[in-house]
């Protein structure tokens, strides 16, 4: 579109169109949309205002396009759902109509209003008016902007070599992209490699996995980095700089996996792969089908761990001279455009449940240990033997939901796979030892998937007894090590006391202990159960909120092999789309500088997490490297001279929003600042979950809490706001590396200032809330209700005076 039109958009009087969406009854149910629209029409620069049922519908969008042309709209405001959901939709609409998409603004009157004030139509409507007013105020100051394009490296990093990681890596590699597959363990394969059979088809798990594993091993496009960990991730979508720590194997690629070294190794220990049910040596391969097949030395146990080669038996035994004790940890640096997180899950450790005596009674085992026992390649050669006497049990009991759906174990969620896994296991036993009596104690049997119900029926037909109601306690016969299961059959309403030779605890899946580390490295969010949080549960189920990062497998939530593989292919496809495009546009939210005001103090350079600013002291000039800029705006917040601001989140725009909030009844309101990634999303989450909280808060969205400069807070108080809430991502989870550290500093500074001036610092609240912590956000707003109510007029007045200076800045 022509330069001159852009010019026009800049210079012309703003002509704003406002569209208030009913979203069916989602909004209209508790907000009087017509009234809001009517109110909007009274606002300055608004030339058109209407309410409609579904603004996001084609009809709604077409309407906007039409109006832009007919009414020469040069600004558009849609009051509907969260911008995190539909801002892209309406920006596109504007663009289609030839309007720069940065001239669009949204008022979130659903997640932040109608859904959280379901039962107070009046308050809801009033709040919605404010939200629209804020949006209009900001809109009138919006400026068109051109987005810069960043090239996307056509290489992908896959973290985790379980079946999900394997599938994602293969799909990406087959598409023709270079893939780095990083696996912590010495071999890829993950949990699936340890399972005997898969449900419902009863395939031999490793038999179907092994070919995929070796494909990975041989694929020309895949760099397989096993025994390695991602140690650092810098950069942004399309341009991630990743450091991978490659721990030494002490065995070189020359290893032919002949196993001679193992025979002579004097170190014998429990093999983790078999959950310790079999032994391995100090130099070993975790299992026969391991990829890479190269052996590895367990340096924690090796006699040579102190750097002195005390024992050289393996060195001597190795014809290929592949043993090398001089290997040192190496850090490999790779540049990738996309990242697939397939880090998988841990299994629940039932030893924290004393009633089941796991770890105390030898014949109480976990379903994972069972998999190894029943596996032909396992420690017992596929003979189901019980640990105490290695006899084949006659009566076997399975206990479901161990570490699932139980507050007691701190795992309220369903682990998704245990029911079918137990059914499969019971059939395996029946297959080999048909006379075995099998009892399954359950809460509910969830056989929801394709072919699952048939398998369930088969089990019942074959005489597996399903008893509803988990045992309250397991007791052991000290002599025979047989077990008694005592509990209530909740169907028959009677107490049972069943004996068994062996009990298998069907343990659930839980988030990996190290997923917090991954979360920090990649600035991701996790839900309350600790699993990684997708960008949108329905529409973007494999995307992370952070651009260029995708999820596959149990890292995102417990799922079976089929779902993991499906999700992996989806993640690969999503990553592939980005890399196929070859470039991505970054939002035009980078800093704008006003050199004439710059005093060359260099503060902005100091606080920039991306080193995207450089200062020329002599020329008193700060230059911005836009590609490097993450767009947090903390530089703008730091500048005391207004020499720097963030486009699309300019001081004027934010101040306009503050002023809009505080124009009326300021003393009953809270000016809330939320960061786009965590706290704003958290507020959305509260809305989605229909968590109810009082209506005193008005949320101003910034990309990062680091954008919130003290002068915004001061202005809010200067204009008589009852309270101010600043909220952002948890420290360490900041999506702009560590910009929220500045937030902390600034709020501390404000608190000190308020104290010094005899103001109640309670009126300024700081909240760290993740996107998953809707409840935490709601609670905060509830708690602040009392603060808002308690604040006395003289206090308001005092604050007005103390911060009066903040008003001059305009």
């Amino acid at each position: 579109m022509a330069e001159n039109q852009k010019q026009q958009e800049k210079e012309d009087e703003p002509r704003i169109g406002v569209y208030v969406c009913h979203c069916g009854l989602n909004i209209a149910g508790s907000v009087d949309c017509a009234e809001v629209a009517k109110f909007a029409s009274t606002l300055p620069h608004v030339v058109l205002s209407q309410d409609n049922r579904y603004t996001c519908s084609d009809q709604g969008q077409e309407g906007i396009k039409k109006d832009i042309k007919e009414h020469k709209l040069n600004r558009v405001v849609v009051a509907s759902c969260s911008p995190r959901l539909h801002e892209p939709t309406f920006r596109k609409t504007c663009e289609d109509a030839g309007l720069n998409k940065y001239l669009f603004e949204m008022a979130n009157i659903r997640e932040h209003c109608s859904w959280v004030h379901l039962y107070d139509r009046k308050a809801g409507t009033e709040k919605a008016k404010d939200l629209v007013k804020m949006a209009v105020a900001k809109a009138s100051l919006l400026q068109p902007a051109e987005e810069i394009e960043v090239p996307i490296a056509r290489r992908a990093l896959v973290i985790g070599g379980g079946v999900a990681g394997i599938q994602a890596a293969l799909d990406l590699a087959d598409t023709g992209y270079r893939v780095y597959l990083v696996e912590k363990e010495p071999s890829i394969g993950g949990m699936m490699a340890r399972i005997d059979k898969t449900f419902p088809t009863m395939d031999c798990s490793i038999c179907i996995l092994a070919p995929k594993m070796s494909d990975v091993g041989h694929h020309p496009n895949i760099d397989l980095l096993t025994n390695s960990e991602v140690s650092e991730v810098k950069g942004y979508i399309g341009n991630f700089h990743v450091k991978v720590l490659r721990k030494p194997r002490y065995v070189t690629k020359d290893c032919s996996a002949c196993g001679e070294c193992t025979k002579v190794c004097p170190i014998i220990t429990a093999n983790e792969f078999d959950v310790g049910l079999a032994t391995r040596h100090g130099i070993y391969t975790p299992f026969a089908q391991a990829v890479p097949s190269t052996y590895i030395i367990d340096m924690n146990l090796c006699l040579n761990k102190d750097g002195v080669v005390v024992c050289d038996k393996c060195i001597k035994a190795c014809e290929r001279q592949a043993v090398n004790f001089e290997m040192k940890p190496q850090t490999e640096e790779i540049e990738v455009g996309t990242i697939v997180v397939a880090t998988g899950a841990d299994v629940f450790d039932p030893s924290i449940l004393p009633d089941y005596g796991f770890g105390k009674f030898p014949n109480v085992i976990t379903s994972l240990e069972f998999e190894r026992l029943i596996n032909a390649g396992g420690p017992s050669g596929g003979h189901l033997i019980r640990p105490s006497d290695e006899e084949i049990p006659k009566r076997v009991a399975f206990i479901q939901c161990v570490g699932s759906r139980s507050e007691k174990s701190g795992k309220p969620y369903c682990s998704n796979v245990c029911c079918m896994n137990t059914i499969k296991d019971s059939l395996l036993i029946k297959e080999h030892w048909p006379d075995t009596e099998i009892y399954v104690f359950y809460v509910d049997i969830r056989a929801y998937g394709k072919g699952f119900e048939d398998l369930y029926k088969r089990a019942k037909k074959q005489g597996v007894v399903f008893i509803r109601g988990l045992p309250a306690e397991i007791r052991e016969n000290k002599r025979t090590h047989d077990l008694w299961l005592i509990g209530e059959n909740t169907l028959k309403r009677e107490i049972y006391k069943t004996s068994a030779n062996m009990v298998i605890l069907s343990i659930g899946l839980e988030a990996r202990k190290d997923s917090e580390m991954i979360q920090r490295l990649l600035t991701l969010s996790r839900n309350q159960d600790g699993f990684f949080l997708e960008a949108h549960p329905k529409l973007r189920p494999v995307d992370a909120a952070t651009g260029g990062i995708f999820f596959a497998g149990c890292a995102e939530s417990p799922k079976d092999i089929k779902d993991s593989v499906t999700q992996a292919s989806a993640a690969a496809a999503r990553a592939g789309i980005l890399m196929a495009k070859g470039k991505v546009t970054v939002e035009a939210i980078t800093p704008i500088t006003f050199p004439e005001k710059c005093k060359a103090c260099g503060l902005c350079v100091k606080v920039c997490p991306y080193n995207a600013l450089t200062l020329d002291k002599d020329k008193k000039k700060v230059t911005v490297i836009e590609a490097a800029c993450g767009g947090c705006g903390t530089c703008a917040a730091e500048c005391a001279f207004g020499a720097l601001t963030q486009s699309h989140f300019t001081d004027e725009q934010i101040i306009a929003q503050i002023d809009a909030i505080t124009e009326k009844d300021a003393d009953k309101k809270t000016v809330a600042f939320c960061c786009n990634w965590c706290s704003y999303a958290g507020a959305d989450f509260a809305g989605v979950s229909r968590m109810q909280y009082p209506a005193h808060a008005r949320i101003i969205r910034t990309m990062c809490s680091g954008r919130v400069s003290t002068k915004f807070i001061e202005r809010a108080f200067a204009r008589g706001a009852a309270a101010v809430l600043v909220s952002g991502c948890h420290i360490g989870d900041c999506h702009y590396i560590n910009a929220n550290l500045q937030t902390q500093k600034r709020v501390d500074r404000m608190w000190k200032k308020m104290e010094q001036n005899g103001l109640n610092k309670e009126r300024l609240q700081l909240l760290w809330a993740s996107a998953a912590e809707g409840e935490k956000f709601a609670t905060k707003i509830r708690d602040m209700q009392s603060i808002v109510e308690k604040v006395k007029p003289e206090e308001i007045e005092k604050a007005r005076q103390v911060f009066a200076k903040a008003l001059e800045d305009n």
């Binding site: 429990a270 078999d274 032994t279 006699l303 024992c311 450790d349 994972l368 420690p379 202990k513």
Partner: protein, 94 residues
């Protein structure tokens, strides 16, 4: 693998370490103490007796701890110690 190990290995009997036979040529020992210091399993310690050279040769504290790495044999400057597998109990093939 993150799981805690709760049950002893089923095959632990079958992979028994071979028993060591530690030979001390006491009177050749000059008492440097290398074998004692660098034994990875701390099988040896200084004995109370005084040998022909007037030093305290090492003595075996716990034969069962020895895993026959033979580092003592290799580092002894005086050819005063060597270790063999006890012929009676050989390692069973696993």
């Amino acid at each position: 693998m993150p799981e805690k190990i709760r049950h002893p290995p089923i095959d632990k009997e079958k992979v028994q370490q071979a028993q060591a036979e530690i030979h001390l040529l006491k009177d050749q020992c000059k008492g440097c103490g290398y074998c004692i210091e660098y034994c990875p399993r701390k099988v040896l310690e200084e004995s109370e007796e005084i040998n022909a050279r007037g030093v305290r040769p090492p003595k075996v504290v716990d034969n069962s701890k020895c895993i026959i790495c033979s580092f003592c044999t290799a580092i002894c400057p005086d050819f005063a110690i060597f270790v063999e597998e006890k012929p009676t109990r050989k390692t069973k093939e696993v």
